[in-house]
């Protein structure tokens, strides 16, 4: 390539990057198959928690949930049960509260500590104060699950995004346990037959811009 063309190439690159930026105004977050980033967030016990701390885990049930959403509250016991069933199989729950405490005061760190004590959460309950992790994952509602699987290179691959089951209101009437089905397949080394599910949930309470 001739030297004289370099400014032109540079200009075209700028145009290209500009077009890319314009084409993706909002980060849609992770899709199944993407690599999920690790995080370092404050747990209700005051310690910082990362996925990398759990050396023995095969993956994680990263659960965006909160104190205030009735759907989250309805699912608390089921999230605990999910952890108790799958942590021994290598997939513990890590709960992350994505809500801004100014927009949703009952989701403050102190209220999270209280809730974790009251419910005796057997898993970490982390505060995503800057909402950076929530944005990176692309969580939009609570509860919103991201099941990630640790790869041989140490990366975390998103295996499942969605809901826990098909009946938020009444655990005794659940017919389809979406998250458990995915985890069973994951633990058995099979591909997940239904890696995306949806549910009605509360919007995440974002910081005022």
């Amino acid at each position: 390539m001739k030297k004289a063309n370099l400014p032109f190439v540079f200009f075209m690159c700028l145009l290209f990057v500009g077009a890319l930026l314009a084409a993706s105004p909002a980060n849609p977050g992770y899709q199944v198959g993407d690599t999920a980033r690790d995080f370092k967030l404050k747990n209700v016990d005051g310690k910082m928690v990362s996925m990398a701390d759990h050396k023995d885990a095969k993956g994680f049930i990263v659960t965006f949930t909160c104190n205030t959403c009735p759907y989250s509250v309805a699912y608390e016991d089921r999230i605990i049960a999910l952890h108790n069933k799958y942590a021994p199989k290598g997939y513990p729950v890590i709960a992350i509260n994505p809500n801004d405490a100014t927009a949703s005061p009952k989701d403050s760190y102190a209220d999270m500590q209280q809730r974790a004590r009251d419910k005796n959460f057997p898993f970490p309950y982390l505060h995503d104060e800057t909402q950076e992790i929530t944005r990176a994952y692309g969580a939009t509602r609570t509860p919103h699950l991201y099941i990630v699987q640790k790869q041989s290179d140490g990366k975390y691959k998103v295996a499942y995004i969605g809901t826990i089951d098909d009946n938020s209101r009444d655990a005794s009437k659940v017919e389809k346990k979406y998250a458990e089905a995915a985890l069973d397949e994951l633990v058995a080394g099979k591909s997940i037959s239904q890696p995306n599910t949806k549910a009605i949930g509360c919007t995440i309470k974002w910081k005022e811009a």
Binding site: P70, T140, R141, T163, D166, K176, K198, A199, T203
Partner: protein
């Protein structure tokens, strides 16, 4: 008053009392199929369908904006429908009292479907399931817009004036 008169009056009174709230809002319980029919309505009408629930704070915050549309466009082909995501078990204990207390004038429906995963993608693949969510459409004019999240009154008014027939 004779016993005979009482026997007549009491049921009449009961009937009148029971019938008068007919002026107040009814809540129609629907299944997904009926929601789909609304979504596919062929009329030259602008449908404004808002998904909400009694437990959803931002939904309740934006509800007056939808009520204002109903009032503002009452003689025009604009139809506001508030579709509750509350459980059907909460219809009498929560939804109806809510609707009556707020004296809602828009059409209020309750979607009686337990497994949201079975219908959300059929209705709108872009919707994650978070509420509030709003869809505005006029099928006759092939107009459609979907918004997930809370709307400001300006944004909602803007959408309606853009599409209203």
């Amino acid at each position: 008053m004779t016993k005979l008169k009482l026997n007549f009056l009491l049921p009449t009174l009961a009937f009148v009392l029971a019938a008068s709230p007919a002026f107040a809002q009814e809540v129609k319980v629907i299944k997904y199929k009926e929601l789909e029919q609304i979504r596919n309505a062929p009329h030259d009408t602008l449908y404004v369908v808002n998904f909400w629930a009694t437990w959803c704070r931002p939904c309740i915050k934006e509800m007056p904006y939808f009520e204002a549309l109903t009032e503002q466009y009452k003689d025009q082909p604009v139809r506001v429908m508030l579709v509750s995501m509350d459980a059907v078990e909460d219809l009498d204990s929560r939804v109806k009292p809510f609707v009556q207390k707020r004296n809602l004038k828009s059409d209020v429906l309750l979607l009686d479907e337990v497994d949201a995963n079975s219908w959300i993608d059929k209705l709108e693949p872009k919707w994650s399931g978070a509420i509030p969510a709003t869809m505005v459409f006029n099928n006759k004019r092939k107009q459609y817009e979907f918004v997930e999240g809370e709307l400001s009154q300006e944004a909602l008014q803007g959408m309606i004036s853009k599409y209203k027939p």
